[in-house]
């Protein structure tokens, strides 16, 4: 706190006692924060710590219930994003607001004065993007651009307003390591020009690497203000979580057994214009093995999950097999009956129905596999609510699911607790094959370590586990083998110890090296370009 006060005199933006209530819940409770000119300031915190609420108030999207915002020495009230931009605050949201059918320049023009001619915008955007190391063609269509390029549009759009402060919300969550490095260079350039950056993240290494100061939030309050370079990842995590995060424990040499799930030459055409086609995907996972599939979002992860789970069966029966049985044409419940369990990426509306109770959501994935214990009455299929509620209670106890009431709606649980329930729902069956897509996406650190430990324990007990994830830390924590998916193609799998971050980054970027000679020449050629 003393730290914050001493800098306040010369600060660009300072915030005193900022408070926002949603009903009776204080999302932000008396937040103090100050940002000096020309610094990269990190805002750290778990999901639900109040980071988004805080920056939405700074950008005029939400109005605080109490507290002051002081900008350049005078108290201001920011009524709308327009007013925030006029003050000199720019923001890059986590979810982009871009029209796919329009060009880069057209998208930028939408946020500017309509009287400025498009050609001038394109010219300025091109020169800005060059100056800041954000290569961008103003005339290309957004639909054709990668996520990293789309983010550049948002950054250029913010820079065109010539802001003194740029807020970036989890900017690297969608980037490859190489793309992230490039972004950091841009941030250093901005800093050198005397602009300030408020950098929201939960990636501790990044924050340590690029940020000058950090403010840590927890449960809507500031729990620490520090220089991240002086801290260790563990001490930062402690400020974020409030307790030491349990280190995930893993056996060093796992005992591998029979092949439990296998894909051979799995190809699936894209179902929609925005989907990715799977191209000749092959993988095998043995008993005791955790295969982690890394990759940047939107490279076919969802499609691979759909094909492996049987939500969308494939034409070639032999292309997927579970415990030696060809199941390509079998639906999801047929695969569950063979002992497989599935956890999709999206919790609300896919893995769970938000406005249904936990016990109903338990029945959701197990109506067929646990028919004997959950249903009675023969063909009538009468639901045994008491037996299901009992099992739901047991799962909540085992996975430490914090909830209000005995059997609340899924929507009332926080992301981490709901995810623990969804994973527990499958673990409770002791599946011999478990396929999880983004197991800890948007989940707080405590729940994430609980979930990762459970996945490792399951493999150690003799199951085969596939973890599809964008989080490289998570991948190295859980994986025995790692493969990388890029544009619908899956790399061969490598033992986790043999892969470096750089190597994964190259694979994510679509540069496949191969042991086969005919392809290595091509890969070299690709690298040379």
């Amino acid at each position: 706190m003393t730290d914050a006060r001493s800098v306040e005199a010369g600060s660009l933006l300072s915030v005193r006692g900022l408070t926002k209530y949603f009903g009776s819940f204080a999302a932000c409770n008396g937040i103090d924060l100050s940002i000096a000119p020309g610094e990269i300031h990190a805002l750290l915190g778990e999901n639900g710590a109040g980071k988004s609420t805080l920056v939405k108030m700074l950008f005029g999207v939400l109005q605080p219930n109490a507290g002051d915002i002081v900008w350049g020495g005078s108290s201001v009230s920011i009524g709308s994003p327009g007013e925030a931009r006029a003050l000199g605050i720019g923001m890059v949201f986590q979810h982009f607001s871009l029209f796919e059918a329009l060009t880069v320049a057209e998208n930028i023009a939408l946020s500017l004065d309509p009287r400025i001619p498009l050609a001038k915008i394109a010219e300025e955007a091109a020169s800005l993007s060059k100056a800041y190391g954000l290569p961008l063609d103003p005339n290309s269509h957004v639909a054709d651009l990668s996520v990293g390029e789309r983010q550049r549009i948002e950054i250029v759009r913010a820079l065109l307003q010539n802001p003194k402060l740029i807020i970036l919300d989890e900017p690297t969550s969608v980037l490859t390591p190489q793309e992230a490095d490039r972004l950091f260079e841009t941030l250093f350039k901005l800093k050198a020009e005397g602009r300030s950056v408020l950098y929201i993240s939960h990636r501790l290494e990044e924050v340590q690497r690029i940020c000058d100061r950090a403010t840590v939030l927890r449960h809507g309050k500031v729990t620490g203000a520090c220089d991240p370079k002086q801290e260790t990842p563990a001490s930062l995590a402690r400020m974020m979580v409030g307790a030491d995060v349990a280190a995930v424990h893993r056996e060093e040499a796992p005992q591998l057994g029979d092949v439990l799930i296998e894909a051979k030459g799995l190809s699936v055409a894209a179902r929609t214009p925005f989907a990715v086609a799977l191209k000749n995907v092959s993988l095998t996972v043995r008993s005791g093995e955790v295969l982690a599939i890394a990759g940047v979002a939107g490279n076919g992860q969802g499609e691979l999950f759909d094909a492996l789970s049987g939500e969308y069966p494939v034409a070639d029966d032999a292309s997927v097999s579970i415990r030696g049985q060809a199941v390509g044409r079998t639906g999801i419940n047929g695969r569950r009956l063979l002992g497989a369990g599935f956890v999709p990426e999206e919790r609300h509306g896919h893995a769970a129905v938000s406005d249904m109770s936990l016990s109903d959501n338990l029945l959701l994935s197990r109506s067929r596999s646990d028919r004997k214990s959950f249903l009675s009455g023969g063909l009538l299929s009468v639901i045994r609510h008491d037996a299901i509620r009992e099992t739901a209670r047991r799962i909540c106890g085992e996975m430490d699911v914090r909830k209000s009431g005995d059997d609340p709606n899924a929507a009332s649980l926080s992301g981490g607790n709901l995810q623990k329930f969804i994973i527990g729902r499958e673990l409770d069956r002791k599946p011999s094959v478990l396929i999880v897509n983004q197991p800890t996406w948007g989940v707080d650190a405590g729940a994430a370590s609980r979930i990762r430990q459970a996945l490792i324990d399951l493999a150690r007990a003799g199951s085969a586990v596939i973890v599809i994830s964008q989080d490289l830390d998570e991948i190295f924590e859980v994986a025995t083998n790692i493969a990388v998916i890029s544009e619908g193609k899956l790399s061969p799998s490598y033992p986790a110890g043999e892969l470096s971050l750089e190597r994964i980054g190259l694979l994510m970027g679509g540069i496949h090296d191969s042991t086969r000679h005919d392809q290595s020449a091509q890969a070299e050629a690709a690298l040379a370009h």
Binding site: G79, E311, N333, E346, G349, V353, D360, L363, S365, V382
Partner: protein
Amino acid sequence: MRIELERRGSASPLFSVISPILSLLLTLVFGAILFWLLGKGPLSALYSFFIDPLTEVWSLHELAIKAGPLILIAVGLSVAYRSNNWNIGAEGQFTLGAITGSILPVLVPSWHSPLVLPLMMVMGMLGGALFAAIPALLKTRFNTNEILTSLMLVYIAQLFLDWLVRGPWRDPKGFNFPRSLDFSSDAVLPPLLDSGRAHASIIFALLAAVLIWFMMRYMLKGFEVTVLGRSERAGRFAGFSSRRMVWFSLMLSGALAGLAGISEVSGSIGHLQPSISPGYGFTAIIVAFLGRLNPLGIIASGFVLALTYLGGEAAQLSIGISDKVTRVFQGLILFFVLSCDTLILYRVRIIFGAGKTLAEGKH
């Protein structure tokens, strides 16, 4: 200035229960204003509209006759709506069920057997179900919108009936009136009691409501309906097929509408004629929503809407205003039900100028 609907954090459970009652009260208030503007005494007009029909035994029978088809159709519609399949064409399925159910008494009037009535009911259900299968086929095959296709099929069914009773099915001894020959006594649903005309359709309706209620509350099928209605993707994850649900929910609601149609023709009319329904299929949509898509709630709301039919007739006789007032009341009820439901889920914000919030529903 603009008006925005902002989603509430959670819906008040108290108001979810009160909402139908509140909307009925609002309907009464606006009905009173309507009568007053027409120069009638509001209270006495409301009395003759809503209370008078309940004071005599014969009109209670009429109430049951009107409530039967409304409940029967609405119960089927509630399943379709809960599964997110918007069958608006129950009036057409009602009409086609009446036609297919009447095949035996019209084409083989000389066949006398206790089997005739049950067969008629089954054929009526089949007809309604198959007619509702057309929008199901179009939706699953060509991804068409079932709201439009089912609604357009209503007019096809009505014109088909019109053509039948003026053409091939016209009673040769009927003095050229557009109607079929009268059903024989084996083909007529008998009155339940000696005191009036009420027949088995109300029994069918209550039975269907209880069975569907059981299915929705206790059976896996009901769970499947709810899950697919809330989220198709979660339903796919559960291994439920949304395509099969389109067929199931549309054909179930079609079958119940068809049963309502043949029961009405067999029990209340006794022959086919160009017009066999005062809009039951459309009014049942109001019944379904007023009953909160809950089969037991639909029993109550079915009687309320049946009363608006009787009230309209009574108002025409006793205070001399058009029986179109029935439609006005039905419209008022639907309007208030939907708006009360909306306000449970959303609060209204009036926003002046650019983004400044001056008035809010709460605080």
